[in-house]
C-alpha cells in the first residue's frame, strides 16, 4: 500500500498583474499537521504532483499560533487562519483535496499573500488610540471596574486578520465600507475612560460614505472571526452612537 498523502491544490499568481494558475501537490502525511506546516513541506521539495519543479509558495505567516493575524487565506473556500487549520480536521478520511487560495477582497501580492494595509489606514482614520499627554511618569491610570475590563478586553483581542472584511458582502469597492474590525476598535477606544476624549471625532469619521451605515447585518463577520469578537454588538452600539452624534452635530451647527 502506498504511503498516505495529503492532496493540495494551490491557486498561484506570480504578482499583482500575473495570471492565476492552480498547482497540485501531494505531501506525505503526518499526524497533527496544519496548513502552514504543509506549505513548509512544499518549500523543502517544491515539485508538483505532475513532477514539475516549481517555486516555494509565497504566503504570510509569523507566530503560527493564531495571535499575529498574518496567515489568513481561503482554505477549502473559507477564510481561515492557516496556522490553526488542522489537516486532520479538514481532510477527514484523507481522500479529499485541500484547496488554498488568497483572500479575494484584497490585492494579491503573490500566491497566497495579499495586501491588507487598508485596515491599518482605517485605524488611522478613526484615531484608534488613547491620546495620552506623554510617556513620562504621570502616575497610575484611571481606576476601572473589572466589568469594564471584561467588556473591553474581547474587543482588544482583534488580530487584524481581516477575515471579517473578507466575508462581509458589503466590503467592496462600491461601498468603501471600513469593515467590522475598525468599528470594533472605535467602540473599544470610545469606552476607554481617556480614549473617550476623541469619541466625537471617531464617530464623525464613521458617519460618512463607507461608514457604519454600510453594514447590511449579514452577520458573516461574527461567525467567521477566529477570535470570537462581539462584532455585531459593536456595530450596533457604534451605529447608535454615530446617529446620536449626527443629530447632535445637526443642532449645534
Amino acid at each position: 500500500m502506498a504511503a498516505k498523502t495529503i492532496k493540495v491544490e494551490i491557486k498561484r499568481q506570480s504578482g499583482p498583474d500575473g495570471a492565476a494558475t492552480v498547482e497540485k501537490f501531494e505531501i506525505p502525511y503526518r499526524p497533527n499537521m496544519n496548513i502552514t506546516s504543509l506549505l513548509g513541506e512544499i518549500a523543502c521539495d517544491p515539485v508538483t504532483v505532475e513532477g514539475k519543479a516549481t517555486t516555494p509558495i509565497t504566503y504570510d505567516s509569523n507566530c503560527l499560533e493564531e495571535i499575529c493575524g498574518s496567515c489568513a487565506m481561503l482554505i477549502n473556500g473559507k477564510a481561515k487562519m492557516a496556522c490553526s487549520a488542522l489537516v486532520d480536521k479538514l481532510n477527514g478520511d484523507g481522500s479529499g483535496t485541500i484547496t488554498l487560495a488568497p483572500l479575494s477582497k484584497f490585492p494579491v501580492v503573490r500566491d497566497l499573500s495579499v495586501d491588507r494595509s487598508v485596515l491599518f489606514q482605517n485605524l488611522k482614520a478613526v484615531k484608534a488610540w488613547v491620546p495620552i499627554d506623554g510617556t513620562y511618569d504621570l502616575g497610575s491610570g484611571p481606576r476601572q471596574f473589572p466589568q469594564l475590563q471584561e467588556e473591553l478586553y474581547p474587543l482588544s483581542n482583534c488580530i487584524s486578520c481581516t477575515i471579517c472584511m473578507e466575508v462581509c458582502p458589503q466590503f467592496n469597492d462600491s461601498t468603501n465600507f471600513v469593515g467590522a474590525a475598525t468599528i470594533a476598535q472605535v467602540k473599544l477606544f470610545n469606552n476607554n475612560p481617556t480614549g473617550a476624549v476623541l469619541k466625537a471625532e471617531r464617530l464623525r469619521a464613521l458617519a460618512g460614505d463607507g461608514g457604519v451605515q454600510e453594514c447590511g447585518f449579514a452577520q458573516n463577520c461574527v461567525e467567521a472571526c477566529p477570535k470570537q469578537l462581539p462584532l455585531t454588538e459593536a456595530i450596533s452600539d457604534v451605529s447608535r452612537d454615530v446617529m446620536f452624534q449626527q443629530v447632535k452635530d445637526f443642532f449645534v451647527r
Binding site: T55, N62, C63, E65, I67, C68, I132, L138, P146, Q149
Partner: protein, 589 residues
C-alpha cells in the same frame, strides 16, 4: 545642522518603545520591520509584565524585584541596568495602563497582579493570558498616532541586511531589502537601534515566530559588533510540541495554580483525571517545597527533563508530563482563556477538563548584542534593545521580565540615540553607503547565480536538529564539538545552494536563504560559547561541570567575528550592588 534622523529596526515592544520616545522628543524616525509591526513576535507573550507595585500588601519592593532578577539570572547580569529597570517597572506599568492596556482589575478598580516563577510575590500585571498582544497593540497605537502626525515613517515589509559604516567605523545608516520588489538600497541615519528580538529559528522548532532568526544581530556581529552570552538559551518548561513549532503554554498557568505531575507508576494506563492524588507525583512541589511549581524556568525545565529521561517517567513513555489546571475554579481559568484556547485549537483537548501534555521547548535568548549601560553596542551609533541585546537577564530570565526589559531598553536606547546623533560630526565622504550597497548586491547576485543542489529549508532543518540536540537543556563538550563541526559542514554546503525561485518579486525563499547564512554564523557563537564555559550557571548546564564556578566564569562571554569564525574574550560582570551567593531554590522556607 539638520534634525537628527534615527532608524529603528524591529517593531516589537522594544522598537516601538524607542520610536515613541524619539518622536516625543521631537526626532524623526524611520521604522523598519519585516512584518507589519502589529504582527511582531511580542504579540506572543502571554503571562504578564513585572512591576513591584506591591498592591497586594505583601511588602514587595523594587529592591526585592532587583534581587529576584539578579539571583534568578545566577549573577551573570550586570547589576546597574537591572536595578534601573526594576526601579522603572511601576512607572512603565502605569504608563501602559494610561495607554489603555486592558489589564485585569481588582474589585476596587486597581491593577490585579499574579505570581510568576522565581519570586514569592504577586508582581505580575496581566491582561488575561494575552499580555504581550495587549502591550504591543497599545504601543502600536501610540506609534500610529505619531505616524499620522508625520513624526514616524514606517517601512513595513523591509528586511535589515546590514549597517552602513563610515571610514571611521561609525554607523551612518542601514542597508535593507524590500521583501516585495526585492529592491536593495541604503538609508541614511545618524544612529540606529536594533530591536530585532530573538533567534529561535536557529533551533528549528521553538516557541518563537517565523521572523525570529537572529539574522540582524548576526549580520552586525559579522560587521564587528560583540555578541555577548550567546550560550545562554532559555528552554521554557511548558510548551506544546507541534509539527511546525513548539507553542508556548504560559507560566501564568502555574501562576494561577496549575500543577505539574506524572503518574507515580510509569505503567499507569488510567486516564489522567481518574488517577487519584496519592498516585500522582508532583515532582516540582516535592523537590522545591518553597517555590513549588513556580521555580525559575531553567530549574523547572531540568526537573522535567530528569523525570522523563533519567527516571523514565514520561507519560506513556513519551517525552511529556502533565500540566494540570482541571482543579482550578472558573474565575481562575477565565484569566487564562487565551492560552486555553491555543491548547484546545492545536491539540484538540479541553484543558479545563483534561490535563495538558507539555514538554520544554526553546524559548528565549538571554544573550544578544553586547551593549553598554546606555544600550549602545561597540559600533558607534548602533544601539540595541529588547531580546536582541544581552543585558538584564544574565544566565536565566525570570518570567514576565521580558516585556519589562523590552520597554525599558527601548526607553533608554531612544533618547540616548538622539543625544548621540546630536553631537555627531559630519560623515566622511558618502559615509560608506556606496560600498555597503555594492557588498550586499554582490551577496544577492552570488545567491541568484548559485547552481548547486542544496535546498535551504533542508539545511535549516539540519541546523535546528543539531542545535536542539546539543545546545539546549543538557550540554556535553563532545556534543558541542559535534554541533560546531556540523555547522561548518552546513556553511560549506550553503555555498552550493539551489534557489528554486530566482524571481525578483516577493521571493520569500530568497530572503530566507539570506537569513540562513546569518543563522549558521550565529549558531557557531552559541555552540562555541557553550563549549568554552566549563561550569553550570542558570540555563547553561553541563553534567560534567555541574557547579557554578565564579572564579573562572563569573564573566560575560563576548564573541567577535575574526577570520570568519567566532573569537572569544571575557569581561568582568558588574556585581557592585549584590554580592553573588549560592543559588538554591530547593531550600525550604
Amino acid at each position: 545642522m539638520a534634525a537628527p534622523r534615527i532608524i529603528v529596526v524591529g517593531g516589537g515592544l522594544a522598537g516601538l518603545s524607542a520610536v515613541i520616545k524619539i518622536a516625543e522628543a521631537g526626532g524623526t524616525v524611520d521604522l523598519f520591520s519585516i512584518v507589519p509591526v502589529k504582527r511582531s513576535h511580542s504579540v506572543c507573550a502571554q503571562g504578564g509584565i513585572n512591576a513591584a507595585k506591591d498592591l497586594k500588601g505583601e511588602g514587595d519592593s523594587v529592591l526585592k524585584h532587583f534581587d529576584d532578577t539578579v539571583y534568578g539570572g545566577d549573577f551573570l547580569a550586570n547589576q546597574t541596568p537591572v536595578k534601573n529597570m526594576t526601579a522603572q517597572g511601576p512607572a512603565i506599568v502605569d504608563l501602559l495602563d494610561r495607554m489603555g492596556v486592558p489589564f485585569n482589575r481588582t474589585p476596587e478598580g486597581l491593577l490585579d497582579f499574579r505570581r510568576f516563577g522565581g519570586t514569592l510575590y504577586q508582581r505580575t500585571a496581566f491582561a488575561g493570558a494575552t499580555t504581550g498582544q495587549q502591550l504591543l497593540y497599545a504601543l502600536d497605537e501610540q506609534v500610529r498616532r505619531h505616524e499620522s502626525e508625520g513624526k514616524v515613517t514606517k517601512y513595513e515589509g523591509w528586511e535589515f541586511l546590514s549597517a552602513v559604516l563610515d571610514a571611521n567605523g561609525a554607523c551612518r545608516g542601514i542597508c535593507a531589502m524590500d521583501l516585495r520588489t526585492m529592491e536593495t538600497r541604503t538609508f541614511p541615519a545618524d544612529a540606529i537601534i536594533i530591536c530585532t528580538g530573538g533567534n529561535g529559528a536557529i533551533f528549528g522548532k521553538s516557541t518563537n515566530s517565523v521572523v525570529c532568526t537572529g539574522s540582524a544581530q548576526s549580520a552586525l556581529y559579522q560587521q564587528g559588533a560583540y555578541y555577548a552570552n550567546g550560550e545562554f538559551i532559555q528552554v521554557h518548561p511548558t510548551a506544546i510540541p507541534g509539527e511546525d513549532k513548539l507553542r508556548l503554554m504560559s507560566e501564568s498557568a502555574r501562576g494561577e495554580g496549575g500543577r505539574v505531575w506524572v503518574p507515580r507508576d510509569k505503567n499507569d494506563k488510567r486516564l489522567a483525571r481518574s488517577i487519584p492524588e496519592a498516585d500522582r507525583w508532583y515532582f516540582l512541589e516535592e523537590w522545591y517545597p518553597k517555590y513549588g511549581n513556580l521555580v525559575p524556568r531553567d530549574v523547572a525545565t531540568r526537573a522535567i527533563f530528569k523525570v522523563v529521561y533519567e527516571h523514565g517517567m514520561g507519560i506513556d513513555g513519551q517525552p511529556m508530563v502533565y500540566l494540570d489546571l482541571t482543579h482550578l475554579p472558573k474565575e481562575r481559568l477565565h484569566k487564562l482563556e487565551g492560552i486555553l484556547e491555543i491548547y484546545e485549537k492545536f491539540v484538540g483537548d479541553d484543558p479545563r477538563e483534561v490535563p495538558m501534555k507539555i514538554f520544554p521547548g526553546m524559548h528565549y535568548t538571554m544573550g544578544g548584542l553586547w551593549v553598554d549601560f546606555e544600550q549602545q553596542t561597540n559600533i558607534p551609533g548602533v544601539f540595541a534593545a529588547g531580546e536582541a541585546d544581552y543585558s538584564i537577564h544574565g544566565a536565566n530570565r525570570l518570567g514576565a521580565n521580558s516585556l519589562l526589559s523590552c520597554i525599558y531598553g527601548g526607553f533608554v536606547a531612544g533618547p540616548n540615540s538622539l543625544a548621540y546623533a546630536k553631537s555627531l560630526a559630519a560623515q566622511p565622504g558618502d559615509g560608506g553607503h556606496a560600498a555597503e550597497l555594492q557588498r550586499q548586491k554582490e551577496k544577492n547576485n552570488g545567491l541568484l547565480a548559485s547552481t548547486g543542489t542544496e535546498n535551504p529549508f533542508k539545511l535549516w532543518r539540519e541546523l535546528g536538529e543539531t542545535m536542539t540536540k546539543h545546545a539546549t537543556i543538557i550540554r556535553y563538550n563532545s556534543g558541542l564539538d559535534e554541533a560546531d563541526a556540523k555547522i561548518v559542514e552546513l556553511l560549506g554546503r550553503y555555498k552550493h545552494i539551489n534557489l528554486s525561485d530566482k524571481s525578483q518579486w516577493a521571493n520569500t525563499s530568497f530572503a530566507f536563504t539570506r537569513q540562513l547564512e546569518n543563522m549558521l554564523e550565529l549558531g557557531r557563537v552559541i555552540v562555541q560559547g557553550a563549549r568554552l564555559r566549563d561550569e553550570s550557571r542558570g540555563a547553561h548546564f553541563k553534567p560534567d561541570f555541574p557547579e557554578r564556578n565564579d572564579e573562572k566564569f563569573l564573566k560575560t562571554t563576548k564573541a567577535s567575528f575574526a577570520d570568519k569564525a567566532p573569537k572569544f574574550e571575557f569581561e568582568e560582570v558588574d556585581t557592585s550592588l549584590i554580592v553573588p551567593r549560592a543559588r538554591n531554590y530547593a531550600a525550604s522556607a
